[in-house]
């Protein structure tokens, strides 16, 4: 019987221990290898990333926010702030922790006007955490709420733009949005100057995020605060004009009105109103975004018969006619096969009349005759006439060009005198302000040149800056000052424009002792590419000047009134001009001729 040999199954204890040690040794070596490999990666391969991470943990990196510049208007000779900055707070609570009655009482007691939500709704919403309950809370009110020591209430600091005059001149000022960017108006056009330049603080910090001076790479670049801009606009005049314009809107079919007052002898803008206004502090609640638009500089339009002043000036200045030059008025004229009629068809002005009468009755036949004479013909519109009119409109009066005022501007357009179809009829229409697009500021600046002795001057609305509480006036070194009309032309135009308002003096509307002249314009509206001959919608405009009798005008005033689907005659605009003119004479203390 054979015996089975189990010898090979017997374990040798010494051999087993040695085997385990070997395994352990290998495990340790592998672990060591992994650690070394990881260390290699951390210290060599990923060195920069880890250094950056370490720096991040103890480096304070902060933007030093530049203070936004303030905006001032003039109150006679004294600048007054109309846009400032204030630190306000958002109040945030955690409804799960904050005691309801406590916060409700505190908010209603100290910040009632700033509560942003219904507190009960917040507490009734299941699972809601971290809700903003009040916005734009002034510091003093926030301090009082903080003193209540309510649990889980946070205060987030904001820089808020404040407009202490409320909605005054909102179309001119614009607003600052939630990102701190100026939008529309002065806030938008001068945003770079007002914003300044943010600074930077990079420093080693401790756990409390306090910057420590021991860091070797500390950097501090101070912020450059924005400039405090002083506008040439007179606050009291602006306010008075706006009130008069609102009254005019309420008493006519117009829904909108724009008013511009400027000094024709300097180009300084004294009033720039766009009604209705809105509250720039609450710009988000404006229902119609067109309220943001500054219609005086941003919207080109056809000012209609106001342009007769420019066509007549061109013909006078070229010696092609005088105020006494006559032509035969049939009540209409035909150009390029198109019959162009006068709006005024009374029998007494049919036949031979002079140019002064034509301007008085705002006859289209008169302004077309001026264009014919400008081209050297009494019966035809010539290429020379078109080119000369273009030269005056575009190059001399700078209509259809950016005026250079420190605001957002639209360019507009003046048609080419030779390129395109029906140039004669287009240019005939241009003499009475159709077939072109120009802004109110372009129109008022050109009109200023007509009446101020013939000087075109770049308009401006920024008077200077406030530095250390003092007004530092800005030199307008790049402003244009061109003599574009002769003294005689300007004087003749003033006479004709004053003659236009003789009946106003007779009617007691214009005060004696003053030289007040003006020109009206009623613009048809283009619908589906053609002028609407039903006159269902009209834009009424009026431009005029005011000054003591026998002297150069002190102020040019332009008004425009309109409404969607409303027929606003120039008479409405003229009535508004009359009221503003008389208000300006009193407010600006313009003495009459002694």
């Amino acid at each position: 019987m054979s015996r089975t040999n189990y010898q090979h199954l017997v374990t040798n204890p010494a051999a087993s221990t040695s085997h385990r040690i070997k395994i352990l040794k290998n495990v340790v070596l592998i672990a060591l290898g992994i650690i070394l490999l990881r260390l290699f990666f951390i210290q060599i391969v990923e060195h920069n990333a880890w250094v950056a991470k370490a720096d991040e943990a103890h480096t304070l990196l902060e933007t030093i926010t530049a203070k936004r510049g303030e905006i001032y208007m003039m109150d006679e000779d004294e600048p007054v702030a109309v846009a400032l900055n204030q630190t306000t707070y958002q109040i945030i609570i955690d409804p799960a922790v904050t005691e309801k009655e406590g916060i409700k009482h505190a908010l209603e007691t100290y910040a009632k006007d700033y509560i942003a939500v219904n507190i009960d709704d917040i507490y009734n919403t299941e699972g809601l955490r971290y809700s903003i309950v009040a916005k734009n809370v002034p510091r003093e009110a926030a301090d009082k709420i903080a003193a209540e020591n309510l649990g889980a209430v946070w205060f987030k600091k904001n820089n808020q733009r404040v407009y202490p005059e409320g909605d005054l001149a909102s179309g001119l000022l614009g607003f600052v949005n939630a990102d701190g960017l100026g939008q529309y108006g002065v806030e938008g056009s001068l945003n770079d100057a007002l914003s300044g330049k943010d600074g930077l603080l990079k420093a080693t910090a401790d756990v409390n995020k306090v910057a420590l001076s021991i860091g070797k790479d500390n950097v501090k670049i101070p912020a450059e605060d924005g400039k405090n801009v002083v506008l040439s606009v007179d606050r009291g005049l602006q306010k008075g004009v706006e009130e008069i314009a609102v009254d005019a809107i309420n008493n006519t079919a117009a829904t909108n009105a724009s008013v511009l007052i400027m000094d024709p002898n300097t180009g300084e803008v004294l009033t720039m109103a766009n009604l209705p206004n809105y509250n720039p502090s609450d710009y988000g609640n404006v229902k119609d975004a067109s309220a943001y638009i500054n219609y005086t500089t941003e919207v080109p339009y056809e000012p209609a018969s106001i342009c007769k002043s420019f066509a007549f000036s061109a013909a006078l200045n070229e010696g092609a006619m005088t105020a006494d030059t006559t032509y035969f008025n049939e009540g209409y004229t035909t150009v390029d096969g198109w019959k162009i009629q006068n709006a005024e068809q009374r029998a007494s002005i049919y036949g031979t009349i002079n140019m002064k009468t034509a301007l008085y009755w705002s006859l289209n036949t008169g302004s077309i005759q001026a264009l014919r004479l400008l081209g050297g013909s009494a019966s035809e519109i010539t290429q020379q006439g078109r080119e000369k009119l273009y030269d005056y409109y575009y190059n001399k009066f700078r209509l259809g060009q950016i005026s250079g005022i420190e605001l957002i501007e639209a360019e507009g357009f003046i048609p080419d005198p030779n390129e395109g179809w029906g140039r004669d009829s287009v240019y005939a229409n241009m003499t009475f302000g159709q077939n072109l697009g120009i802004t109110m500021i372009q129109t008022a600046t050109a009109f200023s040149a007509v009446v101020n002795g013939g000087y075109y001057r770049t308009p401006f609305i920024v008077k200077g800056t406030m530095e250390n509480g003092e007004l530092v006036e800005k030199p307008h070194t790049e402003a244009i000052e061109d003599k574009i009309l002769s003294d005689e032309t300007s004087a003749a135009m003033r006479d004709m424009l004053i003659y236009n308002r003789n009946y106003k003096v007779r009617g007691g509307i214009d005060k004696p002792g003053y030289a007040i002249g003006g020109k009206s314009g009623t613009a048809q509206v283009v619908r589906n590419g053609a002028y609407d001959d039903t006159f269902a919608e009209l834009i009424g405009s009026y431009i005029g000047f005011v000054g003591p009798e026998g002297e150069l005008p002190k102020y040019v005033i332009m008004v425009k009134m309109w409404g969607e689907g409303q027929s606003i005659e120039s008479g409405d605009a003229m009535n508004l001009f009359d009221k503003i003119s008389n208000y300006a004479i009193n407010y600006l203390k313009i003495p009459p001729k002694a």
Binding site: L84, T87, R139, V162, G166, S213
Partner: protein, 113 residues
């Protein structure tokens, strides 16, 4: 092989007579003393460094506090400027009791010089 012998006595007499015997032995700090001194110096310099750093940090806290105060004062100044502007606004002036007691000007005239 040539050799010179000197007796111990002769040599001893010339050296020792009427003279004190001084044994010059080179002495140095022990290694433990050196460690202790270096440690002490390190500790002292360390303490000086920590003290200076703490002093600098305390100044940093002072600076931070002053900057916070400046920010707070500027915020208060802005608040006052806003309040002043509101009080001086046309709307406020128009709605004031002084304005309410005024009468409308109906005629404006100029007196000749």
């Amino acid at each position: 092989m040539h050799q010179t012998y000197t007796t111990r006595r002769n040599a001893g007499n010339s050296f020792a007579r009427n003279h004190n015997t001084v044994r010059h032995t080179k002495r140095s700090l022990g290694s433990i003393s050196q460690i202790v001194i270096v440690s002490m110096l390190t500790l002292i310099f360390g303490l000086i460094y920590v003290a200076e750093s703490t002093k600098a940090t305390s100044f940093d806290y002072e600076i931070s506090k002053v900057e916070d105060e400046i920010t707070e004062m500027n915020a208060k100044k802005d608040d006052l400027a806003v309040e002043k502007a509101r009080l001086n606004s046309v709307a406020t002036a128009k709605n004031s009791t002084v304005a309410a007691a005024m009468e409308d000007a109906t005629v404006t005239g100029y007196v000749a010089d």
